[in-house]
Amino acid sequence: MDLFLQLLANGLVNGTFYALSALGLTLVFGLMRVVNFAHGEFYVIGGLAGWALTNAVGLHFFLALPIVILGMGVFGLLIDRFLIERVRDQGPETGILLTIGLSIFIVNTALLVVGTAPLKVVSPFLNRPIFIGPVVVTQARLFTVALCAVLILAVHLLVQRTTLGRAMRATFQDATAARLVGIRTRHVYGLTFALGSALAGTAGMLLGSIYVAQATIGGIVSLKAFVVVILGGMGSFAGAIVGGLVLGLVEAIWGGYGPSGYVDAVGFALVIVMLLVRPYGLFSKQVERA
């Protein structure tokens, strides 16, 4: 029983981290419908930048974090303006090819600059264990879970409650209509992609302090983020949270009781089942266009 509770706790913590890693993709893929295969590489850049600033430069974690967020936002804006904009409205394939190319470019540039070694973001939070009944969680993980929750809530409120959020939803549901009410859709695309990149980078830096930042982990981060977004339903933030938690829990319990070599495959099996049973995901309500 104690083992089960511990696995449950691990699963929830990892699940929150998955939700955070997928948050940027929820915007970019779920709402904006850009199949961004470079999502994991944006995460990697965030992690490596976090490592460089906290370790090599020696900045405090909380000074480095806003720099990474802002830097990744600007990076995303430039990528959208100079690359994504060229393939907008040309079907998903061109975007897929473009972002695959971009991911290869980023991975190899990262390998050239920092090499293959795993690097650790220096964080002020200790790996001191905290005991909650029979369950052990480190202080750093608890703190990161809290930060994830705040970020997810903030993005949800941004999309649902603010003028920018309404302009985003309008643009992605019907861009012509959005332009006709005076929304500058070009800015909306750019800002959404910037926000998605900033969130991916933030996840990379936060989780780079728990796990490691490494040039080559982007691929698996991308794939799991896609799993989370598809499980939860395109563009749904509640869905991204639940999708992340489900993936974290299933992996933890499978890892605890089943053959551990298959842990990474479990998520993909889940997606296949989900696409067969509920193709729109757990939380997406599909409305027909009349």
Binding site: A167, A170, D174, R179, L180, V181, I183, E288, A290
Partner: protein
């Protein structure tokens, strides 16, 4: 009187395919003017050029005397010209209320937005009843009313209405015509594209007949109604 809208020699193309070959037209303040013609004659493209969705490759577009050719869609809307597009284009996953509010996206005063919302709800009580429903769940007629309501939220002086009765029941089409007459009563100038010639001519005072990207005839509605042969010749019956 100075025209509220004037097009001179407007040309436009999709890639290399030329869609408009020099359109000239004038709309006087307070008029309802119809654009008639078969599919692909260039009526919708003309609307897209006027409202800034598309840049003309040549020619002049003047709204209240000021050139708006090549202006962005938000600048044209700000000037007081709204475009209610073909096929309605409501946001299906947003509520009726969100759709309407976004129509006043360029308006910053809350009180003004509320006042306009009230006016729209007073005119279209069905929309008020359904304000919390997603727009995608409305019937075709209700979606059309929503699209018109959304365009009116910007308080335009000139409204472009593209195929407002397309796919609607005859009863709903009549309702749309009644709305157009009311708009005219409020001093809003309307430029209308309509497949149903008789409906169009029953509200418009004048009409332009389009054929393959050109204006081939311009006359009063009465004159067009009196010469069915002329209409038939241009519109294929």
């Amino acid at each position: 009187m100075a025209p509220v809208l004037e097009l001179k020699g407007v040309e436009a193309a999709y890639g290399k395919a030329k869609a408009l070959h020099g359109i000239d037209l004038r709309v006087e303040p307070g008029e309802v003017v119809a654009l008639l013609g078969a599919n692909g004659a260039g009526k919708t493209t003309t609307f897209r050029v006027i409202s800034g969705l598309m840049r003309p490759s040549a020619g002049e577009v003047r709204f209240d005397g000021a050139s708006i050719a090549g202006c962005s869609a938000d600048a044209v809307l700000r000037a007081g010209l709204a475009h209610c597009p073909e096929e309605r284009h409501v946001w299906p996953e947003m509520t009726v209320e969100e759709n309407l509010r976004l129509g006043a996206y360029l308006v910053s005063q809350r009180i003004e937005i509320e006042r306009r919302m009230e006016r729209i709800y007073l005119r279209f009580p069905r929309l008020k009843e359904r304000r919390r429903q997603s727009a995608g769940t409305l019937s075709g007629g209700e979606q059309q009313m929503l699209a018109i309501g959304r365009a009116l939220m910007s308080a335009p002086r000139l409204l472009l209405l593209d195929e407002p009765s397309l796919g609607l029941s005859p009863r709903m089409a009549k309702e749309v015509l009644a709305v157009i007459r009311e708009l005219q009563g409020q001093g809003i100038t309307v430029l209308l594209v309509e497949q149903n010639v008789h409906n169009a001519l029953s509200v418009a005072s004048r009409a332009y007949v389009f054929e393959t990207g050109r204006v081939v005839a311009e006359n009063t509605s009465q004159a067009l109604l009196d010469s069915p042969d002329l209409l038939k010749a241009y519109l294929g019956g």
